[in-house]
Symmetry: D2
Subunit: 90 residues, 4 copies
């Protein structure tokens, strides 16, 4: 992954964010405020996923599609479709 450092750094930030949410729950913070913080974490995870996907398309997918193994192309295209299905929960 080309954006490895950025991705790892952002995952560390999310770890801290979740630790903060645990603390909010332990200190009886109002439910809706906790839910909003979980939403914020979900948004951060979406951003990381999109960063990784972009990296994947520009490197792994491009290499596979340009290569001379049709099975590799088939596999990477199928993976993209499955990721979309997971994102839209078909």
């Amino acid at each position: 992954m080309h954006q490895k450092d950025t991705v790892v750094r952002r995952l560390k930030t999310i770890e801290g964010h979740i630790r903060g949410i645990s603390r909010m729950v332990e200190e009886d913070t109002y439910c809706v405020d906790v839910l909003n913080q979980i939403n914020a974490v979900q948004a951060s995870l979406n951003k990381i996923s999109n960063l990784i996907l972009d990296d994947h398309l520009r490197h792994c997918l491009t290499t596979a599609v340009r290569g001379d193994n049709p099975e590799d192309t088939e596999r990477v295209l199928k993976e993209i479709t499955q990721l979309f299905e997971a994102a839209t929960k078909v």
Copy 2:
């Protein structure tokens, strides 16, 4: 689009489904039943989107990535990332 007939036929079915939901609302069907029907339409639309995307990856994207115009490759990859961002609402 290679799956044109399937996509058009499914879109017609969804049109009928939405007409049915309008009728439910006019006849004062219980809100939660209406909401569940709207969810069902959303799931059908997701399935159509995934069908179109699969078609797009196998034809337009593959052609662009294998072609000799780097701008075409850049454009199709960017479009895929944007579709994911729209799906996950980053």
Copy 3:
């Protein structure tokens, strides 16, 4: 439903929007443009769902929770949780 007319009118608009998308597919519009239009329809459906939910909370739910039948309260609360689960596809 108190917002019946608004909801029915918006559903009619969506029906027309989907008819337009069928036409786009028949006329071989570029896949990504079709996908963006399907996304727009889904955003409109989400707005309608939220309008109906708001109506439901202010009337059906409030009446049930204030009534003297605990089973009614239990049912409406469970329905809300299920709608959230459907929205977040748990």
Copy 4:
């Protein structure tokens, strides 16, 4: 929150899961496997959100709707609508 212990325990598990994903990225695991693990974390977070929401509906919302302060009722109902809007990203 009545389900405090369950929520805190699950958040700790998620923290560990994210730490594991960081490690996968550092060890150059295949992008698609990383993306699938991020999806799994998001599904776990959705389950926690639904647990907290269920708790909130049964306690805070019920109390507010049955209380004699119309502003409290208005506020909790509006919060539910906003959580739905956030979940469906209207």
